[in-house]
């Protein structure tokens, strides 16, 4: 990084944090600290929701995903608009009217204390685990690409997040998120424009699209049905809907964003904005990855993007033949790409078909060589399932983007990490204080006492995330499973909220045992089947509901008619 990059990076981060703290003045009561006194406008909540969901992995990994596998990942988000509509019509007005700080507080109003406690603990386990990974994942990539010390990077990001989250509460988190999303949008647009500008003069933008499509990098929709395939139209629409219902409806890290709204309408608008904007945003990020692929048709990419892994295998005898075959395949692919474009421009269908096949054959040669190099890493280091997907985009950024822009993209990675991490720490602290400390340990404290408890809880969870991230290297493959972790817990949370909203006869005991049965079913699917993780939410939710209904049928229990208004009347 040049001096200009460092200036851009630090100036950007200082402005983001400074502005967030400036806007959070007056967060001196529990209500203001945890819910911003319910004063937030829809656009701030909308960008905060988006920023909390988009961690650094979204930008680092999604671009790499498009590079190696095309744009199929966009289908993962097809269920999001459906989930948002359902939540706007059901959950948002109920939570607002129940005047709760957390989603789980509502479960006590509707069911009983044990159901609320179990849901809170499930949330703390799941979100606490991912809080460390949110900090660790970008730190490891930055350390490999830029040589930054891993723990120092984690510490810098963690302490910054803890500082503004502890001082300014949810207001600081939300307004910082707004700035962070603006920086992310600006950085990504500039990156794509620069990328297209870096393509050879003989390759126009339509040519680039044509070559990316011919290599299968623009395959946004897959209509075949396969239980094991993570990204198809059907898994996205059905599994994705359940996943996003769980994430936005039952996960306090998201619920807390829209509970800060001035009104039900403002909260609904923030979710509707995400329903509309999220798919195009993901499409755009994936498209950047596809364009990096096109750039590397003409500029030789390294055989492996993780330099440390490449350094380790370069001394192995078996490496040289693999490197030679990679170099030959690259040259064949470059020539085939140029010949294909010529045939395409000449509208010569027969030649075009032949050239497409030659181009794809050369691409298979590249993929074979990369696979062999990955296997060499696995045999040399003992690492299982080696993948360098997360290093592709930042490797391109640091090598080929101009000074200043590198600093901006690194700022994007920092911003994404801090926004996701701040939302997590803020929500973990809220659940700890409201659902556990205030409920079970200190029921009659003053507002100031609970404000200080919230701040201490924020520091605790921030420190926990930093320490957990510091041990991240020992966690290894858990990084890959970051999305799976959420799905191990979301299904049962979604099930219990579905019971609360739609099954009025079900009481607390049935809901409680339903949740336990749902968790058991999800863990069974995780350990003993190959079902894609997107289906865990469907399974868990169904088992919770079925078990609770059976228990209610056998032993009709208590029921509480609290805040379960007619949902349809809310949607007028």
């Amino acid at each position: 990084m040049t001096t200009l990059d460092w200036v851009v990076l630090f100036a950007t981060l200082t402005v983001i944090v400074g502005y967030g703290l400036y806007r959070s003045r007056g967060s001196d009561t529990v209500d203001r600290f945890l819910l911003a006194g319910k004063t937030m406008p829809w656009y701030a909540m909308a960008l905060s929701i988006m920023a909390t969901q988009a961690s650094a992995v979204t930008f680092i990994s999604t671009t790499g995903q498009a590079y190696v596998d095309g744009m199929r990942f966009v289908q993962f988000y097809f269920g999001l608009p459906i989930a948002m509509v359902i939540l706007c019509a059901t959950v948002v007005p109920v939570f607002h009217r129940a005047k709760v700080f957390t989603a789980y507080e509502y479960l006590e109003q509707r069911f009983d204390t044990k159901t609320r406690a179990l849901a809170s603990i499930i949330f703390l386990c799941q979100r606490g685990l991912s809080a460390g990974l949110t900090l660790y994942a970008p730190a490891i990539v930055l350390s490999v690409i830029l040589g930054w010390p891993e723990r120092a990077t984690i510490f810098l990001m963690g302490v910054t997040v803890i500082t503004y989250t502890t001082l300014g509460g949810v207001k600081a988190v939300t307004w910082s998120d707004v700035q962070q999303m603006c920086i992310i949008f600006i950085g990504l647009i500039i990156a794509l424009v620069t990328l297209i500008h870096l393509l050879p003069a003989s390759i126009s933008f339509p040519d680039a699209l044509y070559l990316a499509g011919a290599a299968g990098r623009l395959n946004a929709v897959t209509t075949n049905f396969n239980w094991d395939d993570q990204f198809t139209l059907w898994s996205g629409l059905i599994g994705g809907t359940f996943l996003f219902l769980s994430y936005f409806g039952c996960d306090q890290s998201q619920v807390q964003r829209y509970l800060t709204g001035k009104s039900i309408a403002q909260s609904r608008l923030s979710l509707i904005f995400n329903a509309v904007a999220k798919i195009p945003m993901q499409f755009f990020i994936l498209f950047i990855g596809a364009m990096v692929f096109i750039f590397h048709l003409f500029v030789t990419p390294p055989i492996l993007y993780e330099k440390a892994a490449l350094d380790r295998i370069e001394t192995v005898a078996a490496y040289q033949p693999v490197a030679d075959s990679y170099a030959r395949a690259f040259e064949q692919r470059r020539k085939a790409a140029l010949s294909l474009i010529d045939a395409h421009h000449a509208h010569d269908a027969a030649t075009e078909r032949t050239e497409v096949e030659a181009y794809r054959q050369a691409q298979r040669g590249i993929e074979d060589a990369r696979r062999q190099a990955s296997r060499l890493v696995e045999t040399t280091t003992g690492e299982q399932k080696f993948s360098d997907t997360n290093y592709i985009f930042l490797s391109f950024v640091t090598k080929y983007l101009p000074a200043g822009l590198v600093g901006l993209i690194i700022a994007v990675i920092f911003a994404a990490t801090m926004s996701a991490s701040a939302g997590e720490i803020n929500s973990l602290a809220t659940v700890t204080m409201v659902d556990l400390y205030r409920r079970y340990f200190h029921r009659l404290g003053s507002d100031h006492h609970y404000l200080m408890a919230s701040r201490w809880a924020t520091i605790f969870w921030g420190a926990y995330a930093v320490i957990f991230a510091g041990w991240g290297r020992k966690l290894g493959s858990l990084i890959v499973a970051v999305n799976v972790v959420g799905s191990l817990f979301y299904g049962s949370l979604l099930g219990v909220f579905a019971l609360a909203f739609f099954f009025r006869r079900v009481g607390g005991t049935a809901a409680f045992f339903g949740m336990l049965a749902g968790e058991a079913a999800i863990f069974w699917a995780f350990f003993f089947t190959k079902i894609s993780f997107l289906w865990y939410n469907v399974l868990g939710c169904a088992v919770v509901i079925a078990t609770a209904l059976v228990i209610t049928r056998i032993q009709p229990g208590e029921r509480r008619d609290v805040s379960t208004p007619n949902m349809l009347s809310e949607s007028q």
Binding site: P81, I82, A89, L218, A220, T223, Q572
Partner: protein, 44 residues
């Protein structure tokens, strides 16, 4: 005495009712999926 933080529902700033907004989102999703499908088929 009324709760100063009484929660009021309001109509959306566009399309008149929330029901219409929800239908607009569903139609938008259908258009997006169709566009992605067309994009895939046109460029594969």
């Amino acid at each position: 005495m009324a709760d100063p933080r009484e929660v009021h529902d309001e109509p959306p700033p566009f399309l008149g009712t929330w029901r219409r907004v929800y239908w607009a989102v569903v139609i938008y999703l259908a258009v997006i999926i169709a566009a992605c499908y067309g994009f895939t088929r046109a460029l594969e």
